[in-house]
C-alpha cells in the first residue's frame, strides 16, 4: 500500500469529506492560501474556494462559536485552532456551549462539529505553543476527544469525526505530521471509542496516546532484546475510550504503564490507572500501575530541557524494566 504522511492523511480525509458532503467546510486561521500553520490544509483552497476553506481573523472564540452556530443549523464545520494552547480562548464556546447544548436542550439539538488542533512539544515553541491539554476536554461530558497516532488512524478517525453528530476535539501532534504510514486511498471510517493494539505482547501492557505510541513502539523493540514482550494499546479516542481492550490486555500481562506527553498530574493516565483499579483487571495486577507523563512544568524552550520535560523512549524502557523487576 502507498505510504503518505500524517498531515497528508488528514488533508485527504478533509478533501474526501468535503467532496462528499457540501455541508462540510473548514474554518480557522490561515487555512487557505497559507495552508494552515503546519500545512495540513495546503491546497484545499484551490479546490473548494474561500467559501469552504474559510480564513478567519485571529478570533478563536469566534471560530468555535461560528462552528457551533453553523453546526446546530445544519452544517458540518471543521474548525482549526492553530495551536492547542489557543483552545483556551475558545474554551467558553467549546465547554459551556458546544458540549452542553444538546443535553441542556433536552437532546433536541445536533452539534456535528470538529475542532482540529495540533498539540505537543518538540518544536522549540516553548510554553505557550507546546501544550497537551487533552485531559481537560475529556473532563467535559458532551465532547468527544480523538487523538490519532498514525497516518492510517488520522484519516479514518477524522472521517468518522466529521460524520459524527457531536462536538469533537481532534488532537493532532506536531511531531507526527511528517511521519509516514500506509493509508488506503479510499475513504474509510475508524469507529470512535475503539482502541487499537499496536503491538501484541505478553509481559507488559503500555497504554500510550498520540506520539507516545511511536515512542512505546521504539521502546518495545529495545525491550524485546531483553526478552520483555510488550503489548501496546492505543486508545485512539480518549472520550469515549475503550476500557474493555485495556482491561483485557492488563488481565493478560498483569502489568501496565500509561504514558502520555501531557503533565502527569491530572493527566489521562490517572483516568486509565483509576479505571483499571476499579475494573476486574485489578485482580490480575502483578505490579502497581505505572504512569509516565510530562513533568509538572511549562514546556521549556531549551532543546535538552524540552526533551526532559516529556517522556522519551528511554524513560519508557526504564519504566518497563522497573515494572518487570527481573
Amino acid at each position: 500500500m502507498r505510504e503518505i504522511t500524517y498531515a497528508e492523511a488528514i488533508r485527504e480525509a478533509l478533501r474526501q469529506e468535503m467532496r462528499k458532503d457540501k455541508n462540510v467546510f473548514l474554518i480557522g486561521e490561515d487555512l487557505g492560501i497559507y495552508g494552515g500553520a503546519f500545512g495540513v490544509t495546503y491546497g484545499l483552497l484551490d479546490e473548494f474556494g474561500e467559501e469552504r476553506v474559510r480564513d478567519t481573523p485571529i478570533s478563536e472564540a469566534a471560530i468555535a462559536g461560528a462552528a457551533l452556530g453553523a453546526a446546530i443549523t445544519g452544517m458540518r464545520p471543521v474548525a482549526e485552532i492553530m495551536f492547542m494552547d489557543f483552545t483556551t480562548i475558545a474554551m467558553e464556546q467549546i465547554v459551556n456551549q458546544a458540549a452542553k447544548i444538546k443535553f441542556m436542550f433536552g437532546g433536541k439539538a445536533k452539534v456535528p462539529m470538529v475542532v482540529r488542533t495540533p498539540a505537543g512539544s518538540g518544536t522549540g515553541a516553548a510554553a505557550q505553543h507546546s501544550q497537551s491539554l487533552e485531559a481537560w476536554f475529556t473532563h467535559v461530558p458532551g465532547l468527544k476527544v480523538v487523538m490519532p497516532s498514525t497516518p492510517y488512524d488520522a484519516k479514518g478517525l477524522l472521517i468518522s469525526s466529521i460524520r459524527d453528530n457531536n462536538p469533537i476535539i481532534f488532537i493532532e501532534h506536531k511531531l507526527l505530521y511528517k511521519t509516514t504510514g500506509e493509508v488506503p486511498e479510499e475513504e474509510y471510517e475508524i469507529p470512535l471509542g475503539v482502541a487499537d493494539i499496536k503491538r501484541k505482547g505478553e509481559d507488559l501492557t503500555i497504554v500510550a496516546t498520540s506520539i507516545m505510541v511511536q515512542r512505546a513502539i521504539s521502546a518495545s523493540k529495545e525491550l524485546e532484546k531483553d526478552g520483555i514482550s510488550v503489548e501496546i494499546v492505543d486508545p485512539r479516542t480518549l472520550k469515549p475510550y475503550d476500557k474493555k481492550t485495556i482491561i483485557e490486555s492488563v488481565k493478560k500481562t498483569g502489568k501496565v504503564i500509561a504514558v502520555h506527553e501531557a503533565c502527569k498530574t491530572g493527566g489521562f493516565g490517572a483516568e486509565i490507572a483509576a479505571m483499571i483499579s476499579e475494573s476486574e483487571a485489578f485482580d490480575y495486577l502483578d505490579a502497581p500501575i505505572k504512569r509516565l507523563g510530562g513533568l509538572d512544568i511549562p514546556i521549556p524552550y531549551n532543546r535538552n530541557l524540552e526533551r526532559h520535560a516529556v517522556p522519551q523512549v528511554e524513560d519508557i524502557i526504564n519504566a518497563a524494566k522497573e515494572l518487570i523487576y527481573r
Binding site: 498483569g254 485482580d283 502483578d286 523487576y325
Partner: protein
C-alpha cells in the same frame, strides 16, 4: 381572599425575619407594590405584593421569623369578611402546593433527626464501615502481607498460603512468579506425600502377605510350656548330631510273630523289642546313658528308658525303669500301662521322671528318618522310623525283599563322638538282626 406567604426569595432561603410591614391592616395594596421587608441571610429585601386588594389581616408580627411559604397575612376585597378560623389562625387553607412543601419540610426534618449513635457505637460502626465485620477487623490487625493483586488472586485459586510465601518483588512484595513457585512446591510436596503414602500402602500389603494370618493364639502353658522350655534348653545347650542306620529286621519280625503266638493275651511290639535291644546296647556302651552337668559326664548305672509318647496336650516321656533287666513281657506290660494312662492323662510324676535315655518312634506315621531333640539332660535319643520292605542282596547275591527298620541316633557331641555312636549302633543292629538275645 389571597394568602400572603413568606416568599422564597433565594435558592437557599428556608425562613425569613419580618423586619417591617410597609402597610397596615386595612391599607390598599397594589400588585407589585412593596408590602413588607424581610431579612434573610443578613440581607433585607422588599417583598412586593403578588395581589391587588386590602390588607385584611397580618398574622406574622414584625420581628417574627417565619418559614418560607407560611401564610403571614391575608389580602381581600374591601368588604370581604375573614372567617373566624382564619382570625384565630387555627385552620389555614392549604393548597396542594403547600402540602407538597410541607412534605418536603418533613422529609428534611426526618433526614436531620436521624437517630444519633453513642460514641462507642459510632466508632464501632465507623470501623465496620472501614474494615467490614468484626472478624475482618481482626484479620486486618494481623501482619499485612505484601502481595500484588494478581498474586493474591492466584493464591486464592491455587490455595497457596501467602503467609508462607517469600516475595521476590520490590520491597519483598509477593508477585505472580512467587505464588506459582510456591504452588509448584506445594504440588511437589503433595506428590511426594502421595508417593510416600503409596509406598506405605504397598509395604502394608507385602507385610500382610509375608505374615501368616493367625487362626488362633494359644498361650503357652502347662505341659506345652514345659516342653517348650525343655526343648529350647536342649537345642540351645546341647550340640546335637545324628547317625542313621537301616536294619534288616526280618529275624526280629519272625521273633515277634513267634513270641506273640506263644504268649496268650499279650502282644509284644517292635517298641518293646527296641526298648530291650537299646537297654542292652546301653549296658554295652554306658557313655550313652549319661548326662553332662557342670563340666562332668555323669554315667548312670540304671538304664531307665523313656518312651516319647504323644498326648492330647503334648509330648510326655513315661519311663520304663531298668529296662535292661526286664523281660520283653514285662516291658510290654509296663509300656501298655504307661501308654494307656498317658492317653487318659493319668500318669504320675514318678512315671515321667528319671529316664536316662529316650526312644521316640514315628514309624507308625510312615516317617523314614527324623532328627529329634535330645530329652534334656540326657546324652542321646534313639529315633525309630517306619518299617518298609526293601530289596536286599543276600550272602548268595540274591535279591530278596526284606523288612527294613530305619533308626536314628541323636547324641550330645560334648559327651561323645560319632565313632562311639556308630559302635553303639553296630551293636544295636547286631542284636536286632539276631534277636534271640532278647528273649
Amino acid at each position: 381572599m389571597y394568602e400572603v406567604i413568606m416568599p422564597k426569595l433565594g435558592m437557599t432561603m428556608e425562613k425569613g425575619l419580618i423586619e417591617r410591614w410597609l402597610k397596615k391592616e386595612g391599607d390598599y395594596v397594589e400588585k407589585g407594590e412593596p408590602l413588607l421587608e424581610v431579612m434573610t441571610d443578613k440581607v433585607t429585601i422588599e417583598v412586593e405584593s403578588f395581589h391587588n386588594g386590602y390588607l385584611k389581616k397580618i398574622l406574622a408580627k414584625e420581628g417574627e421569623e417565619i418559614p418560607v411559604t407560611e401564610v403571614i397575612a391575608y389580602i381581600g376585597e374591601k368588604d370581604e369578611k375573614i372567617s373566624e378560623e382564619i382570625i384565630k389562625g387555627m385552620i389555614k387553607e392549604k393548597g396542594e402546593e403547600k402540602i407538597e412543601i410541607k412534605r418536603r419540610e418533613e422529609e428534611k426534618v426526618l433526614i436531620e433527626e436521624k437517630p444519633k449513635y453513642k460514641v462507642e457505637e459510632e466508632i464501632q460502626i465507623e470501623k465496620i464501615l472501614k474494615y467490614g465485620k468484626e472478624e475482618e477487623i481482626e484479620k486486618a490487625k494481623v501482619k499485612k502481607i505484601l502481595a500484588s493483586p494478581l498474586a493474591k488472586r492466584l493464591a486464592r485459586q491455587m490455595k497457596v498460603d501467602l503467609s508462607k510465601v517469600t516475595g521476590t518483588g520490590p520491597g519483598g512484595r509477593i508477585v505472580k512468579a512467587d505464588v506459582l513457585k510456591a504452588a509448584k512446591e506445594v504440588k511437589m510436596r503433595e506428590a511426594e506425600i502421595k508417593e510416600k503414602e503409596k509406598i506405605e500402602i504397598e509395604r502394608e500389603i507385602i507385610k500382610k502377605r509375608i505374615t501368616p494370618e493367625i487362626l488362633e493364639t494359644i498361650p503357652l502353658k502347662g505341659i506345652r510350656k514345659t516342653i517348650a522350655e525343655r526343648m529350647y534348653k536342649s537345642i540351645s545347650e546341647i550340640p546335637h548330631f545324628t547317625l542313621y542306620v537301616e536294619i534288616d529286621i526280618s529275624n526280629l519280625e519272625s521273633l515277634k510273630d513267634k513270641l506273640n503266638k506263644e504268649i496268650e493275651g499279650k502282644k509284644i511290639s517292635y517298641t518293646d523289642l527296641i526298648v530291650k535291644a537299646t537297654a542292652l546296647s546301653l549296658e554295652k556302651y554306658p557313655i550313652l546313658n549319661s548326662t553332662l552337668k557342670d563340666d562332668k559326664v555323669i554315667i548312670f548305672k540304671d538304664i531307665n528308658v523313656g518312651l516319647a509318647t504323644s498326648m492330647k496336650d503334648g509330648l510326655i516321656v513315661p519311663v520304663i525303669f531298668n529296662a535292661n533287666k526286664l523281660s520283653l513281657e514285662e516291658i510290654a506290660d509296663k509300656r501298655v500301662d504307661l501308654v494307656n494312662r498317658a492317653g487318659e492323662n493319668k500318669l504320675e510324676l514318678d512315671d515321667v521322671s528319671g529316664s536316662t535315655f529316650t526312644i521316640t518312634n514315628l514309624g507308625m506315621f510312615e516317617i523314614d528318618y527324623f532328627s529329634p531333640i535330645i530329652n534334656f539332660p540326657e546324652a542321646g535319643i534313639l529315633s525309630v522310623g517306619a518299617i518298609t520292605k526293601k530289596p536286599i542282596v543276600d550272602k548268595e547275591g540274591k535279591i530278596t525283599a526284606e523288612p527294613m527298620m530305619k533308626l536314628g541316633l541323636t547324641l550330645d557331641h560334648r559327651v561323645l563322638d560319632g565313632v562311639t555312636g556308630a559302635k553303639f549302633l553296630q551293636y544295636l543292629r547286631k542284636i536286632l538282626q539276631e534277636p534271640n538275645k532278647l528273649v
